[in-house]
Symmetry: C2
Subunit: 338 residues, 2 copies
């Protein structure tokens, strides 16, 4: 069952059927209706491979996810997938496991799969990819990734938040509650992930509150429950009499919270904790965890919106910065009120 058959049934030329399928205007209402019913009767579905071959593109949008399992990304991916499907495209999802650079995977994927566009979640995009970026034939959108400051912004779009500022506010909030000894769990200062930005925010907040930065207060964790748990244990073992800890990702924050409670300590009575991302778990942990909420739905929706416009040449590359919100919950205690 192909376009030729339909044309034969309808007694018209294939080109006319093609026009109907693609909603071209130059077809009389009568023939359009006739062809449409015949298509319907025979359950004809146009062959995508043929269309793609002819048009030299596909109907697929690639989504590249930095390969650590994180419910924050999982939810964004789901939403992105829905948005993509709604627009008649399909989502090709690819998890990237570190070894090869994010960008190389992305560009290979685009070429190989003749993707219409690509959304990359997480990871890092440095200046080194600038020329490669320029060679890309389809739009790419970078979501929630660390983007080098000096890179030419006209080559790609991005959706992000003010990581440093958001972290600043979180830590400043802790300070406002009277905390002075505030630990931090983060991938570290020389890491290439977005976490370093949050780490900078932490330092600025300390400075702003005239608290001296103490290298001892940092423990490294890499975006898993386990690493958050272990980092917190190391922090506690140092006996620094911390009263609070800022964890730059919720899943690590939950691991850290578990570590605290496993030692018989209480949240927030003994230690206050703030996470980052706003995943559901934080709300359903007990006590509920204060966190910096990222607008994941909006990030997903806007990235697809933007990509769609870019694909159809309806706009230029742009860099959208969304707002975060500090969700104040049960895990932070005010030291002054004791």
């Amino acid at each position: 069952m192909n376009i030729k058959d339909i044309a034969a049934y309808a007694g018209v030329a294939v080109s006319t059927v093609s026009r109907v399928i693609n909603n071209h205007p130059d077809v009389s209402e009568d023939t359009r209706k006739k062809i449409l019913t015949i298509i319907d009767e025979h359950g004809y579905i146009p062959n995508n491979s043929a269309r793609n071959l002819k048009r030299t593109v596909s109907n697929n949008i690639g989504v590249l996810v930095k390969g650590i399992y994180n419910p924050f990304f999982a939810k964004i991916v789901q939403k992105i997938g829905e948005e993509i499907n709604e627009r008649g495209y399909s989502m090709i999802l690819h998890y990237n496991h570190g070894d090869i650079s994010d960008f190389d995977i992305a560009s290979e994927l685009i070429k190989e799969k003749k993707l219409r566009g690509l959304i990359s979640l997480g990871g890092e995009f440095g200046e080194s990819i600038e020329e490669k970026l320029a060679e890309l034939e389809v739009p790419i959108i970078i979501v929630s990734a660390k983007i080098s400051k000096n890179i030419d912004k006209s080559l790609f779009s991005s959706i992000s938040i003010e990581n440093e500022q958001a972290a600043f506010e979180a830590v400043d909030y802790l300070c406002s509650l009277g905390h002075r000894k505030i630990g931090i769990i983060s991938p570290g200062y020389d890491d290439k992930s977005i976490g370093t930005l949050r780490y900078e925010g932490y330092k600025k907040a300390l400075e702003h509150n005239q608290i001296e930065y103490n290298r001892q207060y940092l423990e490294i964790g890499r975006y898993t429950f386990e690493s958050g748990f272990e980092a917190m244990e190391r922090l506690l073992e140092k006996d620094l009499s911390l009263t609070a800890v800022f964890v730059i990702s919720d899943i690590m924050a939950i691991g850290a919270a578990k570590a605290i409670m496993s030692r018989g300590m209480k949240i927030p009575e003994d230690i206050s904790i703030i996470g980052f991302d706003g995943i559901d778990y934080t709300q359903f942990f007990h006590p509920s965890i204060t966190t910096v909420d990222q607008p994941e739905e909006s990030m997903a929706k806007q990235s697809v919106d933007l990509l769609y416009k870019l694909i159809n040449n309806k706009c230029e590359h742009q860099h959208i910065v969304l707002n975060t919100k500090l969700l104040k919950r049960e895990s932070c205690r005010c030291i002054f009120t004791e």
Copy 2:
């Protein structure tokens, strides 16, 4: 840059280049090497649309997920994606939002995208789809779904667990700890999801322990944190002096646990709780939650393995049943030892 160009550079016919690309044997080592280097030099990538058109199939494997957000599925999807990519295929991921039947979406997806095969996660597959199933040209694998007993098993493959038995063991464990008043949170007895099987296991376990089934002990929840939370609240309001509750999905269990603790009650001192699925988070909740662990990695791996074999006609449809394991953690208390 297409196969013709490569052929011209190499001074051979396109058919020879094609043979090299597809690893056909009838090419001399010399020409093969020459062509390979030329392909490499020019960074030539075969056009998938053209190949697909010619071969009337694609390189895509569809993954259909029942559209509620559940970290259990999210993790399986990630693993499936990795396995698919490793085999040189791509994953087209589609979230299904209830309204249209799972199967209709699946078959439409297959036809429209010329998929090579499909893996469906969750949902329900009843007898009504039997003829439609028979008409499918590509293999389909049903993972973690409720499958009607009378359906012809030669038409599809499945990966599942012994839901009823696993639930039985969980509830029986609760009984063995001395619990007699055991609530249950489940999508209900007339629901079409896999939850009903677990509900049956619950009832069997009660019977086996000479505990009379009480309709009051059931509250309906539909696989979200919130619904677990709310169901537990309703359960608590009934004042049934429950000592334990079996929740047929971890995310609901976490919601329920939160509801319990929000009332100032303690787990497991006041109420014991068991979940189902084995998502990471149950381990990091405090107290850690006893749950029926499903082998998600294995489910993912085996489903892709099987699909791959089916695609290459290396085996027949089969129905794999994997083992679950009751992870005994902190959320269950033994009543006898007080």
